[in-house]
């Protein structure tokens, strides 16, 4: 037990004594504030048939539980998916591997640490919730039980499962990196859908609220909405006093599958965890004909051509090298996939092209451009770059441009199609989308120092924007004309510029520290 306790407490201290942990807690508090807007706010979140409950403890507790069930599995997964990585990165892994600690003990202590970090978030959100209730003053009666029980019954088991999932993803080699991040995003999407449609969990709270609204206000014909919707003014929103529900056996039953997931993932983690052993022995397979042709005949010749074209200017010379840096180490099959997607872009219908194949080509590049902004930190080359730098701004702009060129290459088929169809507006939107995506990748990499944030954020934007065609996140131009009318491209240009300026400034400051 001492082993578990010492391992848990050291890991917990190491992870929570960092500034980023405090920032995360503050961010969760701000998220809670934003989730409960006032009646005259420009947006609303939880609306049932045009009604929302007054901000009493029952309504706030239930709505916070719904927010947490939907969002925390995503945010928290990426927050805690560094328990084992921390030991690899800090190079304590060999010290740990040589101790008699068992896989079960070590992973269990990591799981406990994950759970405690996640649990820390809940009191912060609850405290914010109490402040929200007192601030809006729609009900001054604080009912702690009504605030807490939905978190205990619905949120806590979810967090236990997320803690286990994070350990499992870190223990299985091929799930450790970017592929795992993207896979988890789709798992989360499935979990959300299942939760909304399910009869237990968040679905149970939602249907309970919906039933009561229909019973009390049968004439309303609007829909149920959880998320961000544009408010139609103070008069359009009707409030009612929802007294909440007590936990039932059905609610408690929803814990069981989560606990089973938690246990299964932990067992899988124990099975697959390599205990930091270094037994990997690489097979020297002869390279395939396709790979040889691609590397020697195509890529090398393209590089020679690019070197010839870029040799006269320091910007283009550096651009070529930054592009090589981004692409090095990625599988030949990745390049082949990109080529195939480009060919497909030439032949599918315009609708399919804009809403499916072009976004897919970009998703294909996520793990490559997520390296942007953090490569020097990961490779520990910051000091080398700093002393050899000609200009931090030049280096930043060439990295940015390299990723830009990559996304442009991923969209070549579409560019040709749009040009052939004289769809100039779509072409302009494509340029804006490339600029925005690269700025976002650069910003995420530079500010967090890891690839994780972009690998999570981008698939989420990708899903809501291009795939679900939500107008206000339509950076891709799926709703082309409506998008222009709503001024969305202009917003994204502004965001792009702000992100880029912030990143260049942050990187310049970082360089000048030496």
């Amino acid at each position: 037990m001492n082993k578990v306790w010492q391992c848990f407490i050291a890991d917990f201290k190491q992870r929570t004594r960092q500034q980023s942990f405090i920032v995360t807690l503050l961010a969760m508090s701000v998220l809670t504030l934003l989730y409960f807007p006032s009646l005259d706010a420009q947006y609303q979140t939880v609306m049932v048939n045009g009604y929302r409950g007054i901000y009493n403890s029952a309504w706030l507790g239930a709505c916070l539980a719904m927010l947490n069930i939907f969002l925390l599995p995503l945010i928290c997964f990426y927050l805690i998916k560094n328990g084992l990585e921390l030991d690899r990165q800090s190079m304590t892994n060999e010290l740990i591997a040589a101790t008699p600690v068992s896989k079960v003990t070590y992973l269990f202590s990591k799981w406990c640490s994950n759970v405690l970090i996640l649990i820390f978030i809940l009191p912060v959100m609850l405290l914010t919730l109490i402040l929200i209730q007192l601030y809006y003053g729609e009900s001054y009666q604080i009912d702690l039980w009504a605030l807490i029980w939905p978190q205990l019954v619905f949120v806590l088991p979810t967090l236990l499962a997320v803690a286990s999932l994070a350990i499992m993803f870190e223990s299985i080699k091929w799930l450790r990196g970017g592929v795992g991040n993207v896979i988890y995003f789709f798992l989360w999407t499935g979990f959300m859908v299942q939760n909304i449609q399910g009869v237990s969990g968040a679905g149970a709270i939602l249907s309970s609220i919906r039933d009561e609204v229909i019973e009390r206000f049968p004439l309303q014909q609007s829909s149920t909405h959880i998320g961000v919707s544009i408010s139609e003014g103070v008069d359009a929103i009707k409030t009612f006093n929802w007294q909440g529900v007590e936990p039932t056996a059905l609610h408690l039953w929803s814990i069981v599958p989560l606990l089973i997931i938690c246990l299964t993932c932990f067992i899988l983690a124990v099975i697959f965890f390599d205990r930091f052993s270094q037994n990997s022995r690489t097979e020297n397979k002869p390279s395939s004909w396709l790979k040889r042709v691609l590397t020697t005949q195509i890529i090398r010749r393209l590089d020679v051509l690019f070197a010839l074209l870029s040799k006269n200017f320091s910007f283009t010379r550096l651009l070529r090298l930054e592009l090589k840096l981004l692409l090095k180490g990625h599988s030949t099959y990745w390049a082949i996939g990109l080529l195939v997607l480009n060919i497909v872009q030439l032949f599918v219908s315009k609708q399919l092209l804009v809403s499916i194949f072009l976004p897919m080509s970009w998703l294909w590049c996520v793990l490559v451009i997520s390296q942007l902004g953090q490569l020097e930190k990961q490779a520990n080359t910051l000091e080398l770059i700093t002393y050899s730098k000609s200009s931090a701004v030049l280096q930043s702009l060439t990295s940015y441009s390299a990723a830009w060129v990559l996304l442009a290459m991923a969209s070549m088929g579409s560019v040709l199609r749009f040009a052939a169809m004289t769809e100039w507006m779509l072409l302009i939107q494509l340029i804006i989308a490339i600029s925005f995506t690269v700025s976002l990748a650069y910003f995420c990499g530079a500010f967090t120092g890891t690839k994780r944030m972009f690998e999570v954020l981008y698939p989420a934007l990708w899903y809501v924007g291009p795939i679900q065609a939500a107008l206000y996140v339509d950076f891709f131009g799926v709703n082309s004309e409506a998008s222009w009318q709503a001024g969305i491209p202009y917003y994204f240009v502004a965001i792009t510029v702000v992100l880029l300026l912030l990143t260049v400034r942050a990187k310049s400051t970082r360089y000048s520290m030496y």
């Binding site: 001492n2 082993k3 306790w5 010492q6 391992c7 407490i9 050291a10 890991d11 201290k13 190491q14 004594r17 960092q18 921390l86 990165q89 800090s90 190079m91 304590t92 060999e94 010290l95 740990i96 591997a97 040589a98 101790t99 008699p100 600690v101 070590y106 930091f276 052993s277 270094q278 037994n279 022995r281 690489t282 097979e283 020297n284 397979k285």
Partner: protein
């Protein structure tokens, strides 16, 4: 108490371009200090990681107290102290917190752990920094924390890989003293490429080259093997380049407008050369160098 390594091999790649980190290495380690010498890339760290049960070898057997530790690594881990060449710490923890953590992983009871931590911090001159976060430690202090964690469980087998890197001369001397005190009732394997680190304290020296064990003797026996191959020559600076090209020069000392050279060669390198007492460094350089004296210089004396 002994460690028995039998026909150990480890290969990093298989197939046509197989790369061996260790090739058919057999060695017996008895209580005392075994200095493991070899140039960078000789396979020392690979051997260390295998002995520390981190890497599983491709072939061969290792027995600790007669028990196969490749099959049952846990048997050794309870009695093992290991300091890798490159290691890190949790930089947000203080020195004492980090050692408590490592003691927990090693299964030490809390009172015993606290006593051991206090003793080791004193011995390694870190008591004053015990409560400072490790991110504020210098390279030498972090190295000493590494040494302390290796000694926490009073290990019967202590494996230390390049432990003196980052230590200043005084710390290195203290560390050698500490190892000498510890060597009585345990096996210590001390890997380094700095001969001076093991010269005065090792009971036995093993020399590795390109994954193979090429010598395993006591320091005195190794020196005896090169006893008639060590020469001292005072030469002009203009001759230096040629001599360095043709012979193993273990040491050079500038003396006004000349240079005094310690040369290791099978034959007397020059009529001016005189025989001298061999050192361990001479033996190490002789066995790890592939150079053969050229005919022009051979049998000069």
């Amino acid at each position: 108490m002994h460690l028995d390594i039998q026909s150990l091999s480890h290969q990093y790649q298989s197939g046509k371009n197989a790369t061996f980190a260790i090739k058919s290495l057999s060695l017996k380690v008895e209580p005392g200090i075994l200095g493991l010498l070899g140039s960078n890339g000789a396979g020392k760290s690979s051997l260390m990681r295998i002995l520390a049960t981190i890497t599983k070898p491709s072939q061969g057997k290792i027995f600790w107290q007669g028990q196969d530790i490749i099959k049952s690594p846990q048997l050794l881990r309870n009695e093992l102290g290991y300091l890798p060449q490159y290691f890190g710490v949790y930089d947000q923890l203080s020195g004492i917190e980090f050692l408590q953590y490592m003691a927990g992983l090693k299964g030490l009871d809390e009172p015993l752990a606290n006593q051991r931590i206090k003793d080791l911090l004193d011995k390694l001159n870190l008591s004053h920094a015990a409560h400072i976060p490790l991110k504020g430690y210098s390279g030498g202090m972090k190295q000493r924390i590494g040494i302390a964690q290796a000694l926490l469980n009073n290990p019967k087998l202590l494996i230390i890989d390049e432990p003196t890197v980052g230590l200043d001369p005084q710390e290195r001397a203290n560390f050698r003293q500490l190892l000498t005190e510890l060597a009585n009732d345990r096996c210590i394997i001390f890997s380094t490429h700095i001969v001076a680190d093991v010269e005065s304290i090792a009971d036995r020296i093993a020399i590795m080259q390109t994954g193979e064990l090429i010598q395993s003797e006591s320091p005195q026996e190794l020196q005896n093997k090169v006893a008639n191959k060590c020469w001292q020559l005072t030469a002009n600076f203009s001759e230096l380049k040629n001599i360095q090209h043709n012979f193993i020069v273990s040491h050079s000392l500038r003396k006004e407008n000349k240079v005094e050279l310690n040369i290791v060669a099978d034959y007397c390198p020059d009529v001016r050369a005189i025989s001298r007492t061999p050192s361990l460094e001479d033996a190490y350089l002789y066995f790890t160098s592939n150079r053969v004296p050229q005919a022009d210089f051979s049998r000069a004396c």
